[in-house]
């Protein structure tokens, strides 16, 4: 639920990066955090284990400037990807306005991507949301690994596995080099803001 403050003319929008364990959700936010310092008002908050795995969420508030006189405050979150953390994953999804599904393009992760997307579908249903209706962008991450000779799923395969029914915008990306991290973010922000505007009309 985006929250709209008519007094101060502020709109808060919640965008969640979702995907299987170690697919690169936190790395996306870290890249955004270091690249857009001037649009970020406060520190990134990371609730993680000693091994740097997300335990609850990462949180990064991102200032979009004004649209039609409204100050747009984007709240970026990641979920913990490890299978055992579904209860907390669900909590983070509460009130979500837009989702980036980060898939791991490594060939050996094929099954995990599919399972994670199915669980996203179920988790949204528990909030009476539909994966077919909510603003969603696919990101096929770690494409840089191809250069290192590590087997990568071709985009056609990822599209067929994950996006054949959803048909949402998608990007090949490398969160570690930053390739298409900003493009993914811009796309989900614009889809989400458009969807909120539509609901307001």
């Amino acid at each position: 639920m985006s929250f709209i403050n008519l007094k101060d003319k502020v709109v808060q929008v919640k965008i969640v990066y979702y995907g299987p364990g170690r697919c690169g959700k936190t790395t996306n936010l870290e890249y955004i955090n270091k690249t857009y310092r001037n649009q970020i008002v406060s520190e990134m908050v990371s609730l993680k284990t000693h091994g740097d795995r997300t335990l609850f969420f990462d949180f990064l508030p991102f200032d979009m400037g004004k649209i039609k006189g409204y100050d747009i405050k984007i709240q970026l979150y990641t979920v913990p990807g490890q299978v055992k953390y579904n209860a907390t994953r669900k909590l983070v999804l509460r009130g979500v306005d837009g989702i980036v599904f980060v898939a791991d393009a490594m060939a050996k992760q094929r099954e995990k991507n599919i399972r994670s997307l199915n669980q996203l579908h179920e988790n949204l249903l528990s909030y009476k949301e539909s994966i077919f209706k909510i603003p969603l962008v696919m990101q096929y991450n770690k494409v840089d690994l191809k250069e290192h000779g590590i087997p990568i799923l071709p985009t056609e395969v990822l599209q067929k596995d994950l996006n054949s029914r959803l048909k949402v915008p998608y990007f090949e990306a490398s969160a570690i080099t930053g390739y298409n991290v900003a493009a993914t973010l811009k796309k989900i922000i614009s889809s989400t803001v458009i969807s909120i505007q539509k609901k307001l009309l």
Binding site: Q12, V45, P61, K73, Q75
Partner: protein, 132 residues
């Protein structure tokens, strides 16, 4: 998706209630957030400088976690949550299924006194909501 839109008038009334009933009594900072971690309004005594956006995200997560634990042990909810520190304390209270009231206060205010006022504030805010 349901949309939380609060009118300017409602927010001003809520701000007045928070200022009169909590800030004037010496509470450092009061925030109303929704369960998604959005800030509805924040009032402070002009001295405290908290990063309210991060605070709201963490507070919503904290409350949601405790709520989930309550369900696991068969409780409807733990409607009161309180964290005590050396210099400052944080008190959480549920307004309704969507909203939380969070007060941050120092050692010169007792928990009992704060709770009385919080109950009063919540009652007033609920009435305001009902009227809309």
């Amino acid at each position: 998706m349901n949309y939380g839109i609060v009118s300017q008038e409602q927010l001003e009334q809520i701000d007045t209630i928070l200022t009169d009933k909590l800030i004037k009594l010496g509470v450092d900072c009061v925030i109303i957030i929704d369960m998604a971690g959005n800030i509805i309004t924040a009032k402070d005594n002009g001295e405290s400088k908290y990063d309210v956006y991060s605070f709201a995200a963490l507070a919503a997560g904290n409350f949601a976690t405790v709520d989930a634990m309550a369900k696991l042990v068969g409780e409807q909810e733990f409607s009161l949550l309180f964290h005590k520190g050396q210099e400052s304390n944080i008190h959480f209270s549920k307004i309704d299924d969507e909203l939380l009231l969070i007060s941050m206060f120092g050692k010169d205010i007792s928990l009992g006194f704060l709770r009385l006022n919080v109950v009063d504030v919540i009652e007033k805010i609920r009435q305001l909501w009902k009227r809309k």
